[in-house]
């Protein structure tokens, strides 16, 4: 059975690096991006099982990533993380069919659990 493919988009390089190291331990194939444009281009080439994206980014933001991913692959799960945790963004994300929503600082264990849930559905 091939590995699950996970994409991490965050303009903080450390977030991608740490998530990749940690998630690869679980046997996932992880690709990281510092902004949304190349990430969306990559998504058009290939389907990912889970996309973890930051909410606030320069250029294309997390909400637009969510919409684009859902437009391309409705079954791909999107997990959003944000330093700006407020109710409005959470509601907006839920309406866009987000799988999960994490405020920063992110607990990696919770993130992993969320990814597992997303893949088991």
């Amino acid at each position: 059975m091939s590995k699950y493919r996970i994409m991490v988009i965050d303009d903080e390089k450390i977030v991608g690096d740490m998530a990749k190291m940690s998630l690869e331990q679980e046997g996932y194939a992880v690709e990281t991006f510092l902004n949304a444009e190349p990430a969306l281009a990559r998504l058009k080439e290939e389907r990912f099982d889970v996309v973890v994206t930051d909410y606030k980014m320069k250029g294309i933001d997390g909400m637009e990533v969510l919409r684009t991913v859902k437009g391309l692959y409705p079954e791909t799960k999107v997990i959003m993380i944000t330093a700006f945790a407020n109710l409005d963004t959470a509601i907006e994300a839920l309406r866009g069919d987000v799988h999960d929503f994490f405020p920063k600082p992110v607990k990696i264990k919770e993130l992993k659990a969320s990814i597992q849930r997303a893949l088991s559905k």
Partner: protein, 466 residues
């Protein structure tokens, strides 16, 4: 002297001139009238005299005594009429001439009386009568002629005086109004310049212009307005700062959350993978933590600088040397970013009164911004020159970067306003603004998207005590 007083004075001068000329003309007219009145009287007199001489001739022709009575009667009537207009005659020809005239008339009358008494046979008396009559006629005609000449002279003289005084008044009015309007225009031009500089946001007090006229009062008014405006500006900045506390809280939360999250994730990964990590990887993790704490420290430092700007420790300094020192600090990062620096520093600029450390911080902020606006490399221009307002030195920091959209320009000195996304705290320019304002200087920005951005700083020149 006030302009108002000058105008009043010059008007009073012109009015006085006009009144003087009016009086002169009035007096001349009166004189002419008197003279004409006399000429009228004299004409009557001459007519009477002519009649007397005619009677005289008749006497000699027909030797008729009754004619002499008529003549005597005429003389008496003439004397009476002279007595009636005595005053007018005195005014016109003077008392002397009048007395002479009366004397001659009386003598003529006596001669006639004598001729009548002698019974018209005395040739000597007759001769006397003829001579006296002739003399009287001549005298009367002479003073009449003289008076006519005088009248003509007076008219000619008045004409001349009125003609010259007309030009004198015209000239004086023109010269005075020219000078006064020149002075008013000069004052207005000066005031225009001053108000223009205020509208550009230079709330410096105007000094060195001491004027006791309206310009002086206007300058005083402008000075107090400037003071009030600069005071209000401070209040606005202060209230903006208060208003930005809300933004500040959100900004701080966001700014600090990212490095905090990074440290947290590093720690979690470190813990989880501890056994699998190599020594180098562990050291790398910890240095990443260090880096993130540095980032947080920077945010907190900027925040402190912003909320509690230090009073500048002002000393005299050479602005060009300060620029060079700052550039030395930044040269490495400029080289790495592939940015070429062009300096255009003016020699012999006056020393400025600055806190060199704080001004260096401003330059660092501006140069950092410029470098970040030119991610693909570019040119950085730093120039110094005499300020546009006297008593100031001007420094410009210009880049060939991507520029700032016009809708962002009014906000770029606001705290936590950043166009750089993750790149900046949004405090650099707001801190710089505070520093420059504390120096009683000015900082401005001009920018064109795709062309570049120019920051202009004006700093006060150091002045010797006293």
């Amino acid at each position: 002297m006030k302009i108002e007083h000058k105008i009043i004075l010059s008007n009073a001068f012109n009015v006085a001139l006009i009144v003087l000329i009016g009086l002169f003309a009035f007096q001349n007219l009166n004189l002419i009238l008197t003279k004409l009145r006399f000429v009228e009287i004299a004409d009557d007199l001459n007519a009477s005299l002519l009649e007397m001489r005619l009677s005289e001739k008749n006497y000699f022709l027909y030797k008729d005594d009754t004619v002499l009575f008529d003549t005597k009667d005429k003389i008496d009537k003439t004397l009476q009429s002279i007595e009636r207009v005595r005053k007018d005659i005195i005014r016109a020809v003077g008392e002397n001439n009048l007395r002479q005239l009366i004397t001659r008339l009386k003598r003529y009358s006596e001669v006639i009386e004598n001729v009548r008494k002698s019974g018209n046979k005395n040739a000597q008396l007759e001769n006397m009568l003829r001579t006296e009559g002739k003399k009287l006629k001549e005298f009367s005609e002479e003073i009449t002629r003289l008076e006519r000449v005088r009248v003509n002279e007076i008219i000619a003289n008045s004409k001349r005086v009125l003609f010259y005084s007309f030009w004198a008044i015209l000239l004086s009015a023109m010269i005075v109004s020219h000078f006064i309007s020149q002075k008013i225009l000069r004052s207005l031009r000066m005031i225009e310049k001053l108000t223009k500089s205020i509208s550009e946001g230079n709330f410096h007090k105007i000094e060195g212009i001491k004027s006791r006229d309206e310009l002086g009062s206007v300058i005083n008014a402008i000075n107090s307005m400037s003071e009030e405006l600069s005071h209000r500006e401070e209040q606005i900045i202060q209230s903006k700062k208060l208003a930005s506390i809300g933004v500040l809280t959100a900004g701080v939360a966001h700014e600090l959350t990212n490095p905090l999250n990074n440290i947290s994730m590093i720690a979690q990964t470190y813990e989880e993978l501890y056994d699998k990590l190599s020594r180098e990887e562990r050291i790398d993790f910890m240095s990443k933590v260090q880096g993130e704490t540095e980032r947080m420290k920077e945010i907190i430092k900027n925040l402190l600088d912003f909320s509690r700007p230090k009073e500048p420790d002002l000393k005299k300094a050479d602005i060009n040397a300060t620029i060079q020192k700052t550039l030395k600090l930044m040269q490495n990062s400029l080289d790495v970013s592939n940015i070429e620096t062009k300096l255009n520093l003016k020699d012999g600029l006056p020393q400025v009164l600055i806190d060199e450390h704080q001004i260096q911080q401003v330059f660092v902020n501006l140069i950092t911004n410029a470098a970040q606006a030119m991610s693909g490399g570019g040119m950085l221009f730093i120039g110094s020159r005499n300020g546009s307002s006297s008593g100031f030195v001007e420094v410009t920091v210009a880049d060939t970067g991507k520029g700032i959209p016009p809708e962002f320009l009014p906000h770029i000195f606001d705290p936590f306003f950043s166009t750089k996304g993750d790149g900046g705290t949004g405090l650099g320019l707001s801190v710089s603004y505070g520093i420059i304002k504390n120096h009683k200087g000015d900082i401005r920005v001009e920018s064109k998207v795709g062309v570049g951005t120019t920051f202009t700083i004006e700093l006060p020149v150091y002045k010797e005590e006293g």
